[in-house]
Amino acid sequence: MMNLPILDDITKILFVLILATAVLIITVRTLSSLFNVYSLQSWFIAAVAFVLYLKNGSVVLLSLAILTVASKAFLVPFVMRRIQKSMHIKRDLEFRYLTPIGSILVGTAMIFLVYWSFSKFIPTLSTEELFFPGAVIGVSLALMGMMVIFTRKRMITKILGYLTMENGVLLFSLFIAELPFIIELLIVIDLVMLIVLATVLAFGIDSSIDEFHTKLNSFTLWFKE
């Protein structure tokens, strides 16, 4: 339990870095660097959790930090790299609805929107200084992850979008007092992710979603007499 002002400052620097990784996930085209960026982002979020643990002394935060590092900084990128090796694509160049430039513009607008809407009621919720930036950046990160899901065509980058979204929810939850509920939410999102991962692994991960659909459709023949 420490109450040093430097801890708050470190958290703010980490926020800045998380925001920088968020925009890189939208724009980077090479898959391996995309995984590196995601891994880096998870490190930063784990660091935020650790700094909060130093500040509050809550063991939940420490275990969250350890869990994040173990799963998202090592395990998930490792598995993703394995998948990438097996599917022989190195870059994701296809975008839908929005080009990266458009995505960044929309992302910027979204952050301001989140800021604007949160500024209306957050001051009544919590008096802690870091709660507001944490909430804004967490929710924006989740929304940016959602944008990755619908602007990228390749399945593997879509998964990365899910993961980013989950990181955003995690960051948001770190600053909320009632953790158990949020953890449940996390588990649900993780479950969705797991299902997507499993399905995709089963039905050809190297396809875009349209090809995937036709591939999936061929299996309906099994159920026809």
């Binding site: 400052d9 620097i13 800045v16 870095l17 925001l19 920088a20 430039i101 960044i104 800021y115 930036p133």
Partner: protein
């Protein structure tokens, strides 16, 4: 009077050190490609060689071609006064104003583009057209970046900015980190470095900056090269003085000034090496993909503004 001393000292220092940074970046790039590269003093040799040669003008050129090198070097040197490298002077009327600084740089660029058109060679015209296209996109971004900088440090005067950043630290203003990323991108774009332009080639397909100065020879070419080098040092100095201003002094005497000169040289060398590595890591990107890079700078400066609001 004291400002005159500052002006003299700063200009001489920046002129002396700029060619070193240019060769250093070339050296780092050569090393990363497994070559030995030119000696560190090569840019000084080339400049002195060019100064001794005669000037050749094409018969199609007008006076624009003749005055541009002088306008260019004067604009950039005056702009360099806004970015102290030796010590931060007291207020001097108009100097250090952000708008003045940016418009001096743009004025020089405008005349360079005119000179590119002036010789009526296709290369020059193409270079000017590309330069103006890129500028038209990057200019609003630069304005936003410097607006964010002004909002962050609560002033529109560069001297005041550096004074504030000298007193604060990364911990007080964490968004300095974001704005530095934007400034780095601006440095890369404005000095025509790799994802935007390749300074090494004279291929018609890729060149932007080199195309515009293709018609120059002798002392005029030396002036153009020099102004490019000084511009690079000036932009590097902005980044250095915002992110790592340590060593820069506000109370000039012989000791503190020499400390800040040495500190600036060391930081400049580190930044030049970083730029060299950055250039080696990327390939030249297509012209239509450039707004991507600019958008990153735009996003980082907007997030800086957001962080200011969140405080």
């Amino acid at each position: 009077m004291s400002f005159l001393i500052y002006a003299l000292l700063n200009t001489v220092f920046i002129i002396l050190i700029s060619p070193l940074f240019v060769s250093l970046i070339k050296k780092v790039k050569a090393f990363s490609q497994g070559r030995q590269g030119p000696p560190l003093l090569q840019t000084y040799y080339s400049l002195s060689k060019l100064l001794k040669k005669e000037t050749v003008y094409s018969t199609n050129t007008s006076m624009i071609m003749r005055v541009t090198p002088y306008i260019n070097i004067v604009c950039i040197l005056v702009a360099s006064l806004c970015v102290p490298a030796v010590y931060i002077p007291g207020m001097a009327a108009g100097f250090g104003n952000i708008i003045l600084f940016l418009y001096l740089l743009v004025f020089a660029k405008f005349f360079m583009a005119l000179a590119g058109l002036d010789a009526s060679s296709t290369f020059g015209g193409m270079g000017s057209s590309r330069e103006m296209t890129v500028s038209a996109v990057i200019e609003p971004v630069i304005i936003i970046v410097f607006t964010a900088l002004g909002l962050l440090l609560k002033t529109t005067n560069l001297y005041e900015m550096f004074r504030t950043s000298l007193q604060s630290s990364l911990f007080i203003n964490p968004s300095t980190l974001l704005i530095s990323l934007s400034l780095f991108i601006i440095l890369i774009v404005e000095t025509a470095r790799i994802p935007v332009d390749n300074p090494e080639t004279h291929l018609e397909l890729t060149m932007i900056h080199e195309a515009m100065i293709l018609e120059y020879s002798g002392p005029n070419l030396a002036l153009m090269e020099m102004s490019h080098a000084v511009k690079q040092t000036v932009l590097m100095a902005v980044l250095i003085n915002i992110l790592i201003p340590w060593g820069l002094t506000t109370a000039p005497n012989i000791l503190t000034v020499s400390i800040s000169i040495i500190a600036f040289a060391v930081k400049g060398v580190i930044l030049a090496v970083a730029v060299g590595f950055f250039e080696s890591m990327f390939a030249k990107s297509r012209l239509f993909r450039l707004p991507n890079l600019f958008m990153l700078a735009f996003f980082f400066s907007f997030s800086t503004i957001l962080f200011e609001l969140l405080k």
